[in-house]
């Protein structure tokens, strides 16, 4: 990578959409209104598990103001985000699998009429026994107790098993073996904007849908499948998303129904979910039970680890196939682990489906791992920070499960966080009731593989230069608040030496923009950034050529800066960017270029090795200081330090924003949030008042420390900066609580009643079920294809 002073990258610039958002100009999906528009509503199942004997819709259809009513028979094609687990229906056909599963949809002249008409739809249900826990799902193996029919073993969606290295020998070499169990409760994304979709059909038999989605491309594919329309007839526009966090990454029933109803009625149809419905649509954090066994040397060196996870998947697969792998994949990328065994299983239960939420499948095992290590350090009498520092994964190495680590700034993260938090002075030294805790983590910068198998790029960018110097960037990426539109503007501005405010960014419109796979797995900056650079450089070649001729300067002496194309040696020799564009268009014709990005090839080749791969890993370390009132067990987080290796901060302000948002979210998961259900399968409190999520008042001071490692695979060296921050904070809270009052809570969230029970010695340990995992896939480093490292 060239050493160049950046003019845009690294500056705390305003987001390109900041003004529109703060002045209320941004039009979210629900702000859109079209003439003759109808309002849609879904009739949802009140039962967690039931067979549908029949549905009568005629009374509803006759209600004044109702334009159409549809049921499962109208949209029989199944879909789902993962190609191999297409088990969702827009409207349940034979069965409902959780409370809130949609069974019918109406389009009416107003929301009130639509709501009213739902009451006139009669569904004849045959109730079935609901399965509401991991244990019940594992116990219900009778064919008659199945939630789904397609999967091999009743109620097991996926069971996986891997062995990397010789586990027996690994444990035999250990001086001591430690074992722990943990439970991470499920929780919801809780974005401010509820899901919304508006669909319009015609007049040329073309469908347009505006949706608050993080993955317009995957929605495009799913709509085509379900509606049986060619993709060329469908246009998906991701409206500005008012928060996603993973919760808007699946194709959803309301999107299918809005489209179908628009096709039937010939009018635009809009669905906006209520807050309650978002808890039923869910796709949030999986509840996971975990068992971990680790063999260590007396000095704390890890010898072997065996990890088991049990995921409560809810009623459908969603991303679950990936999630189950993710609960095992990244244990190996922060600390050297010579031998590793992982077994995981995801079960179906009659609850809203779980899916990806910030950190997708990795916060749960990270919580278990980091608390487990804290316990080991405590028992061995080693400082937990030291325990980690002595065995960090090296840069340019391959882990025992075949993951390629390029750069790592974990050492710097840990050292800086420890120094800033005055760890040495505080650990074990604070008065009773106050404590400090540490944890570290790693995360991916974009999934290494796409969700459906294909050899095409993961991200595409197209740039058009206009006479007059206007620059428009087209990309399928979706800004969900994280700032991906701004990232595109920064890259292009950096490359062309212009002001980011002068760049027009057009994103997330399948008619206009090249495919980007979506805003998930922290992939956008790395992938769209690289694609954008490639497109820019193609154009720059042309621009430099004409500028070189005009200025009589060799091309390799040219640079673009301050709105000019100029000689580096004689900066006065310059033409304006606009003039250069005119000259180039005169010479080459209309100016445009595309760029694309696909992640590199990876070293491992075993079945299942696709999850956990990434162009680069981000690293984080966190220290949490908290106080706990020993009488009330109420916890107050006093301060959070978080150091994060983001490769390169495109915009430190945005990175800090992501950091603070992640810490806030982590504290919610650690201390209060839980998606829990009653015995009848009903969510206990599907409301934003009673589902407890922290407010600004519970959010402590957060100190973000950015570490830049300049990764060779990232654009300008950048890695992920959207999810990784969340991971270490949760275990650091649990570890800090132990330092404060000497009790361990291995079950999230850490609520005051649990702490009080623990103080009184009444908290039951987490139990994990027994399960026959399949025989492991065995693999050792070196068995895969050799891939040269970039450096």
């Amino acid at each position: 990578m060239r050493e160049k002073k950046f003019s845009v990258i690294g500056k705390p610039l305003r987001k390109v959409d900041a003004l529109a958002k703060s002045t209320g100009d941004t039009r979210y999906a629900d702000d859109l209104e079209l003439s003759r528009m109808l309002y849609g509503k879904l009739l949802r199942s009140p039962l967690p598990h039931a067979r549908i004997r029949g549905i009568k819709t005629d009374r509803a259809a006759k209600l004044k103001g109702v334009y159409a009513v549809i049921t499962g028979a109208d949209l029989p094609e199944r879909f789902g985000i993962m190609p191999s687990t297409q088990d969702e229906e827009a409207l349940a056909g034979e069965k409902v699998r959780h409370v809130g599963d949609p069974v019918a949809a109406v389009a009416a002249s107003s929301e009130a009429v639509a709501e009213e008409s739902l009451k006139l739809i009669e569904v004849d249900y045959e109730p079935l026994k609901p399965i509401l826990s991991i244990e019940e799902a594992l116990a219900c193996t009778e064919e008659s107790e199945r939630i789904h029919a397609w999967n091999r073993r009743a109620n097991i969606q996926k069971a996986v098993s891997f062995e990397f290295g010789d586990v027996v020998q690994g444990f035999a070499q250990a001086d001591q073996i430690f074992e722990d169990t943990f439970f991470f409760q499920g929780n919801a994304h809780l974005p401010m904007e509820q899901h919304c979709a508006l669909a319009q059909y015609g007049p040329e038999d073309k469908l347009t849908i505006w949706s608050s989605t993080q993955t317009p491309h995957y929605l495009h594919r799913a709509l085509s499948k379900v509606l049986k329309l060619p993709m060329s007839r469908i246009r998906v526009i991701a409206a500005p998303v008012g928060g996603g966090f993973g919760g808007k990454s699946d194709p959803f029933s309301h999107e299918m129904c809005a489209s179908k109803l628009a096709m039937i009625t010939g009018r635009p149809v809009k669905f906006t979910l209520t807050r309650e419905e978002t808890f039923y649509v869910h796709r949030g954090r999986h509840p996971v039970k975990m068992w971990i066994r680790t063999g260590v040397k007396n000095d704390g060196t890890l010898q072997a680890m065996h990890f088991r996870s049990f995921l409560d998947g809810g009623g459908y697969s969603s991303y679950g196939l990936a999630t189950v792998y993710y609960t095992g994949a990244l244990q190996t990328v922060s600390y050297k682990l010579p031998v590793y065994k992982f077994e995981g299983v995801r079960v179906f239960t009659n609850k809203p489906p779980c899916g990806p939420k910030r950190g997708h499948g990795t916060p749960q095992p990270r919580f278990a791992l980091e608390v487990h290590l804290d316990k080991i350090a405590d028992k061995l009498g080693i400082d937990p920070v030291e325990l980690r520092l002595k065995q960090l994964v090296e840069p340019d190495s391959i882990t025992v499960n075949g993951l390629r680590v390029s750069t790592t700034g974990l050492r710097e993260c840990i050292e800086k966080a420890a120094a800033r938090a005055e760890w040495k002075k505080k650990f074990h030294q604070l008065p009773y009731g106050r404590g400090i805790g540490f944890a570290a983590s790693a995360y991916i910068s974009g999934a290494g593989l796409p969700i459906y198998w294909n050899g095409m790029p993961h991200s595409g960018v197209q740039i058009r230069l206009d006479r007059g110097g206007g620059i428009t960037v087209f990309c399928g990426s979706t800004d969900i608040g994280q700032g991906s539109d701004s990232i595109l503007a920064y890259v292009v501005a950096e490359e062309f030496g212009v002001d980011p405010a002068d760049i027009r960014v057009v994103t997330a419109d399948t008619d206009l923009t090249p495919v980007d796979l979506g805003s998930y797995s922290s992939r956008v900056t790395v992938m769209t950034g690289n694609a954008a650079i490639q497109a820019c450089r193609k154009l720059k070649e042309m621009l430099f050529q004409v500028a070189g001729e005009a200025l009589e300067v060799p091309v390799d002496d040219l640079e673009m800066a301050e709105g000019k194309v100029r000689s580096q040696s004689y900066p006065k020799r310059a033409i304006s960017f606009a003039e250069c564009v005119e000259k180039a268009e005169t010479k080459f014709g209309t100016l445009g270029a595309t760029g694309s990005y696909s992640p590199p090839k990876y070293p491992a080749n075993y079945k299942g090795s696709g999850v956990g791969l990434t162009p680069a890993y981000s690293y984080s370390a966190s220290i949490v200081e908290l106080s706990c009132d020993p009488e009330t067990a109420e916890i107050k987080v006093e301060k959070v330090w978080i150091a994060h290796d983001c490769g390169r901060a495109f915009n430190p302000l945005l990175v800090e924003g992501q950091s603070e948002g992640s810490v806030y979210m982590a504290l919610g998961e650690a201390l209060m949030e839980e998606q829990v259900f009653r015995k009848n399968g009903l969510h206990k409190f599907p409301s934003i008042l009673d589902y407890k999520s922290p407010t600004t008042l519970e959010t402590p001071e957060i100190e973000t420390i950015l570490i830049e490692t300049n990764d060779p695979e990232g654009p300008y060296g950048a890695k992920e900066a959207g999810q990784g921050f969340l991971l270490p904070v949760i275990p650091a809270v649990a570890n800090a609580l132990f330092d404060a009052i000497g009790v361990r809570i291995d079950e999230l969230p850490i609520t005051p009643d649990k702490v009080l029970r623990a103080l009184e010695g009444r908290l039951k340990p987490v139990s994990v079920p027994s399960f026959d995992f399949p025989p492991p896939i065995k693999w050792r480093p070196g068995e895969g294809v050799e891939v040269p490292q970039k450096s």
Binding site: R44, P46, L47, V99, E111, A112, E115, E179, D180, T181, Q194, T272, T274, R275, E276, W291, K375, Y432, P630, E631, T632, M672, R678, N680, L682, H683, K684, F685, P686, S687, L689, D690, K692, P694, T695, L697, E698, F738, I741, G742, V743, R744, D746, T751, P752, D753, L756, A758, L759, E760, G761, L763, K764, P765, V766, S767, V768, S770
Partner: protein, 347 residues
């Protein structure tokens, strides 16, 4: 979004007219002040009035008169923001200012009134749900059904009395000035409530609260309100302790009242507090004894946030802390086991 159902909104010009309208329209009508409790509940179908009689513009309900002959007079129509920020309220009754200021969020306090707050509907997380949810769960007796889902054997509803200001008013011996068809009457707050989640108010439906009177007798009393909730904003109390105490110059307790909220369907007066403390110099042991007595009469059920086991335990701690604050006595914090609890191991 959940939509408000259709209803007719009537805006009377005087208290008298409001009372007349309510009497005429009968059970199909409800009074609405700030609407912060009522409107969300109408969206969820918990209340289904056809008529709403607005109290927002009634001049009779406005004003705070800090030094009226009988005591402090607070108009029922004053918002919680106004009450929480009023200098006289803050000076004499910091407990009330704190209670009013701890209700929900700033936006809601700007709309919500103190009159509405003392009549805020009792809460239960089987009841504070949408129509869809309640239908799916099977309706309970508080609305549309006939059993209690929390305690199926219970003959009455156990929904939780959740007002923040009411326990403070009870502890100060405040009196409600009720305007009914037959004129004005006074009723001590303590007598307005009844421990029945469905019929928790004893006043007649056509009686409106005009004002709250805190008697002069309460002027010299120290007072405090402690609220247990998960978060520093939004949340209703899941336990509240209001305490008021008069100490004479010798430090002898002349009167003491401790009132709990959110542990029953009405405010709970801890009778033992007066019995144990009045006429005595308050000691740590006495505080412990009152706290113990309070925990005995605190009967939370598992129908709001935080489990009943925890809330019952906290009754003791919160009462102790409230009384410590009033008396200035320093209490030792609970002894905690010295040995850390054994690490929990799986199979």
């Amino acid at each position: 979004m959940l939509r408000l159902p259709d209803f007719t909104y009537i805006r009377p010009k005087s208290l008298k007219e409001a009372g007349r309208l309510l009497a005429e329209l009968g059970p199909e009508a409800m009074a609405v002040a700030g609407g912060t409790d009522l409107y969300p509940k109408m969206k969820r179908g918990q209340f289904t009035p056809r008529y709403l009689v607005s109290l927002r513009f009634l001049p009779e309900l406005r004003g705070i008169r800090p030094g009226s002959k009988e005591g402090m007079w607070i108009g029922a129509g004053e918002t919680l923001t106004v009450v929480a920020k009023n200098p006289a309220v803050n000076k004499r009754f910091p407990a009330l200012a704190h209670a009013a200021g701890s209700v929900s969020t700033p936006a809601l306090r700007n709309m919500g009134t103190i009159g509405g707050n003392v009549f805020v509907d009792t809460r239960c997380n089987y009841y504070d749900q949408t129509f869809f949810w309640r239908q799916a769960a099977g309706f309970c007796m508080k609305k549309d059904g006939d059993i209690c889902l929390v305690a199926p054997k219970s003959k009455s509803c156990l929904a939780v009395f959740s007002s923040d200001t009411a326990p403070v008013l009870c502890s100060l011996g405040a009196v409600a000035l009720l305007a009914g068809p037959d004129g004005l009457r006074k009723l001590p707050f303590e007598q307005i409530y009844r421990d029945d989640g469905m019929h928790f108010v004893t006043k007649r439906d056509d009686e409106l609260l005009r004002a709250i009177l805190i008697p002069r007798a309460a002027f010299g009393q120290r007072n405090v309100y402690l609220k247990l909730r998960r978060r520093g904003s939004f949340d209703f109390p899941v336990l509240g302790v209001a305490a008021a105490m008069a100490l004479d110059r010798e430090g002898i307790c002349r009167s003491a009242r401790v009132v709990l909220t959110a542990v029953a369907s009405a405010p709970v007066v801890v009778e033992e507090a007066s019995r144990l403390l009045e006429g005595k110099k308050v000691s740590r042991e006495m505080i412990e004894a009152v706290a113990e007595a309070a925990a005995k009469v605190s009967h939370p059920v598992d129908n709001v946030d935080l489990d009943y086991w925890y809330r019952k335990r906290m009754t003791r701690v919160y009462v102790k802390r409230a009384l410590a604050e009033l008396t200035g006595l320093k209490l030792e914090t609970e002894k905690v086991p010295q040995e850390p609890v054994k690490d929990e191991k799986g199979p």
